[in-house]
């Protein structure tokens, strides 16, 4: 997920840029990964590609790559909206001070955009956390997979998956609460 955020950040920059080529390229990327199910992306990478190149990629690697690409798609949109949300006055001010596009982006726009981006960032994080349970289907051993394995040993589905549900709930809800706490601390709503 961390990799995905970083990648998404750069793709988001591409989306916000005036360069038509970069914009279109990143648009295709983003739309593909946001409008298709993670499961399909996983299957494509895990079953499809190895057949194409006659190799075998371990589940762990595939899962990491798939989640990175998936996260990056959403992160790109978040960063792009955050950058666009900064009023034009900031750009004009930095240009009139003689800063170049890159320079103004880096020193003026991005710090402000980052604060605005935090709430949706938290939302995407929680979403990916939940969707990560899907990687259990390709055999990557994480929480859901463990639960399935325990269940096949004990046959108490409700208890096992009930506990799993509670664990996911605690993780996601906790993280959302952390996000709102951060929001309050940084007073994001008051940034105007």
């Amino acid at each position: 997920m961390a990799l995905g955020s970083v990648a998404g950040f750069f793709i988001g920059l591409m989306r916000a840029s005036k360069n038509k080529f970069l914009n279109l390229l990143s648009l295709c990327y983003v739309e593909t990964f946001r409008n298709s199910p993670l499961l399909i992306q996983l299957f494509l990478l895990y079953y499809g590609l190895p057949i194409l190149f006659n190799t075998h990629i371990p589940a762990q690697t595939t899962a990491t790559i798939a989640i990175t690409l998936y996260t990056a798609g959403y992160m790109a949109e978040v960063f792009k909206s955050a950058i666009s949300a900064i009023e034009k006055g900031q750009w004009e001010a930095s240009y009139s001070l003689g800063l170049s596009y890159t320079h103004s982006l880096r020193c003026v726009i991005l710090p402000q955009a980052f604060r605005i981006a935090i709430p949706p960032l938290v939302g995407v994080f929680v979403m990916v956390l939940k969707d990560s349970s899907l990687v259990s289907i390709i055999g990557f051993v994480e929480l859901t997979r463990m639960a399935a394995m325990v269940r096949s040993l004990t046959f108490t589905t409700f208890d096992v998956f009930g506990v799993t549900a509670v664990l996911y709930f605690i993780m996601c809800y906790g993280f959302s609460k952390l996000g709102s706490f951060l929001e309050k601390k940084l007073e994001i709503a008051k940034v105007r």
């Binding site: 409008n35 079953y47 590609l49 399935a148 589905t157 009930g162």
Partner: protein
């Protein structure tokens, strides 16, 4: 050397079509029931009654923070062990996705209702409209305009989410695709086709929603 052959897979287009129908069926049912349930729960969320508020908030938070996959496993594998009740996969899928979707819908609808300023409400009531008329002519149209895009996104969410139900053997398009893949060993082509399918569906839905917004939901013009 592996050669990419789409023809092999496209031979089975009728199987894919069958799966696509199941997917669409699932999506429509979930959207329908989910919205209805979502409306009920959104009323709970804006209620002043502490108990109703607590229950509906608990519901929403639960279904927004627990993954669909885990819920599907519980819904499909637990009842046989607990009460000896075996649900058909499709039914289990619809139930779980409806419950899940209703939580998100409740939040969307609540946002729409809250987004209407109190002045409008007061103005309508002072004009002598009854509560029912208030809802029918002021609140519902206004809220609908506010939440239209979010509803569209939710529909797309459901379409993408239906993909996961294949794990409990719901015969939707991904499931059929896997079967075709196993039979022809052409997983790559199958999943590329599925990818294109889902992306097209989503983009189509977004376009339809935007078009409806443009045609039917123009803001009232001031004289």
């Amino acid at each position: 050397m592996y050669t990419i052959q789409f023809g092999e897979v496209l031979k089975y287009y009728d199987v894919l079509l069958k799966g696509l129908l199941v997917t669409l069926e699932l999506t429509i049912l979930v959207m329908l029931f989910g919205t209805i349930l979502g409306i009920i729960i959104s009323f709970g969320r804006i209620s002043k009654n502490k108990l109703i508020y607590g229950l509906s908030t608990g519901y929403v938070e639960f279904f927004r923070n627990v993954p669909l996959l885990v819920l599907l496993y519980i819904a499909y594998y637990a009842p046989p062990e607990l009460f000896g009740l075996r649900l058909r996969p499709f039914v289990a899928g619809v139930i779980v996705m409806t419950l899940n979707s209703a939580a998100y819908e409740a939040e969307i609808i609540r946002g729409g209702i809250k987004g209407i300023r109190d002045e409008e409400r007061e103005a309508a009531l002072s004009l002598g409209l009854s509560k029912f008329q208030l809802y029918r002519f002021i609140i519902i149209p206004h809220a609908l305009r506010l939440i239209w895009e979010a509803l569209g996104n939710q529909l797309i969410s459901i379409i993408l989410g239906s993909c996961v139900t294949m794990i409990i053997t719901v015969g939707e398009v991904t499931y059929e695709g896997l079967i075709i893949g196993s039979r022809t060993a052409r997983h790559f082509e199958v999943f590329i086709i599925l990818l294109i399918l889902y992306v097209s569906l989503s983009v189509m839905m977004s376009t339809i929603f935007r078009a409806i917004k443009r045609i039917f939901m123009k803001p009232a013009e001031l004289e």
